[in-house]
């Protein structure tokens, strides 16, 4: 049985995290003591939903689960319906939380209070390469989350390839500060695991407002890597604040425009790398967005076009994995992206299948017929493009319907506007064309939003 170490840090006093609130460094020794303490508190269940919002707590939870051979479950959202589905998927699941008011309907384990430095022997756990350490879920097209298991070796190898590509040096005392949560693939890989596997440090905070981002950056030592998304980077620049020195910026979740990439680079005087990947594959390509629109594949990873679909294979990807974007100019080393396949929508980095959203909408009691519509994204608009929906639901008003939808889907997918109409513009075969929906939402008098 071959193994790989839990973290690449070398000595007990290597810094593995920074606590933003109190400015303290967390050493590897302290981290491992916190991990061991948490392992000793774990219930019997072999699946864990890690909802810790403090990134350090999240990382301790993840490490403890790995050491205890438990699988971390990472659904794309935590709506009541998704929690029910997670419970059906893994009946023994428990929830690790650092929020006193956590109301998730699962057995809960509260993240324990920090303990004093312990004097236990120092040993970095070795993890079986083939151990399934996490299962990440996509929304699926039928309304049921689809599981994507991640082995330890796959995560380690893809992140090491990423670190090499972006020139992140090992054991360089670098701190990774992230505006995105660690509970999805990008945040997991680029704000937590990359720190572990390069012997660098993560920052526990998830700064939200531009002023918080600046404060968090200034509270940790250089070199600093800012791990973010187009929405956060745009608002950070627009705020006209003095941004503390950053040495590198990562962005993912949605494509950056070349203009924004150039603005970010010149404002921060640091290179910006975009990361491309999916929940199914993890990261597979990067690009220096200010200079090229071509994505460079990580070494050993190939895209294979077959029957008008594109699959990823090689490197950390063991089976042909279908990609939900539209590709162009695929070569052995690079490719262009031409948007997403029609069924897949992406709002501020959150992906959902349109078919699945329609399925959910039509399963709401009182909805006779209904459809979501994703307007074309307007590149010139600074605001985020939102979904619209139209429904035939004479017994419901907007408040009731939205409240029920909220049980099933993340807020970012809630329709805006939501039109109540007498009949959907279906053709004689019952098909609803995108053009007819477009017309519907652009004619001012057809619908009314039930208030």
């Amino acid at each position: 049985m071959t193994t790989l170490p839990l973290v690449s840090h070398l000595t007990p006093d290597s810094i593995i995290a920074w606590r933003n609130r109190d400015g303290d460094a967390v050493t590897l020794h302290q981290f491992l003591a916190d991990v061991n303490q948490l392992v000793s508190l774990f219930p019997a269940g072999s699946h864990m939903l890690n909802m810790c919002s403090d990134r350090y707590h999240f990382s301790v939870g993840l490490a403890a689960a790995i050491v205890a051979n438990k699988v971390s479950l990472l659904p794309s959202t935590h709506t009541p319906e998704v929690i029910r589905q997670i419970k059906a998927f893994a009946p023994d699941v428990f929830c690790l939380t650092d929020n006193e008011n956590c109301n998730v309907d699962l057995p809960q384990l509260a993240f324990p209070l920090a303990q004093k430095n312990d004097t236990s022997l120092f040993a970095i756990p070795q993890i079986n390469r083939e151990q399934c350490v996490a299962i990440v879920f996509t929304s699926g097209s039928t309304g049921h989350p689809k599981p994507h298991p991640k082995t330890w070796a796959a995560l380690v190898s893809s992140i090491q390839a990423q670190a090499l590509r972006i020139g992140l040096q090992h054991h360089a005392g670098t701190t990774l500060i992230s505006t995105v949560p660690p509970q999805h693939m990008y945040g997991l890989e680029s704000s937590v695991l990359i720190a572990w596997f390069t012997g660098n440090a993560l920052c526990d905070a998830q700064p939200f407002y531009p002023a918080d981002v600046c404060q968090t950056l200034s509270a940790v030592p250089s070199p600093r890597v800012l791990v973010s998304s187009p929405v956060h980077l745009r608002t950070l620049l627009d705020a006209d604040l003095i941004i503390p020195k950053v040495d590198q910026i990562l962005s993912a979740t949605a494509p950056l425009t070349i203009e924004l990439a150039q603005k970010v680079e010149s404002h921060c005087d640091a290179p910006l790398f975009e990361i491309y990947g999916s929940t199914e594959t993890g990261l597979i390509a990067t690009r220096r967005s200010s200079q090229t629109d071509k994505w460079q594949l990580l070494p050993e990873i190939h895209l294979i076009a077959k029957d008008e679909k594109v699959y990823a294979m090689g490197g950390h990807i063991n089976t042909l994995t279908i990609m939900n974007d539209v590709f162009d100019a695929i070569t052995k080393t690079d490719f262009l992206l031409r948007g997403r396949v029609d069924d897949m929508i992406n709002i501020a980095g959150r992906r959902h299948s349109l078919a699945s959203l329609n399925h959910i909408l039509n399963s709401i009691p009182g909805v006779i017929d209904g459809a979501f519509y994703m307007p074309d994204e307007n590149d010139n608009s600074s605001t985020t493009t939102r979904l619209s929906a139209c429904v035939v639901a004479p017994e419901l008003n907007a408040t009731q319907l939205l409240s029920m939808l909220r049980d099933f889907i993340a807020p970012v997918f809630l329709p805006r506007p939501l039109l109540f109409i007498d009949k959907l513009p279906r053709n004689e075969t019952g098909k609803l064309s995108r053009a007819s929906l477009h017309d519907l939402f652009h004619s001012p008098h057809l619908g009314k939003s039930n208030e």
Binding site: F208, Q215, H232, T235, T383, R406, P411, R416
Partner: protein
Amino acid sequence: MHNDQKTTDTTSSSTSTEELQREVAELMVECLNLEVAADQILADDPLYEDGLGLDSIDVLEVALVVSKRYGLQLRDDNVDNQHIFSSLRNLSDYIASKRTL
């Protein structure tokens, strides 16, 4: 939008509570392309979830507009972000207490 009320004092920092609430509601409607009219957003209606239905991306957008209009920076520490954005009244009160413009 037409405000017939004549105000003798035109400096924005002395805006009354109601005027500021109206102003902030208009900023939100404009910045988020909301379907509702500004005067339909009541002072104590929740802005999140079951009320106006804002989410964190909206909050970032509104925060940016508010920071420019009133010369303040919203911060997530010390104060409860959910509280500031819990209602138009709380957001307006927060702005009134921090504004420099």
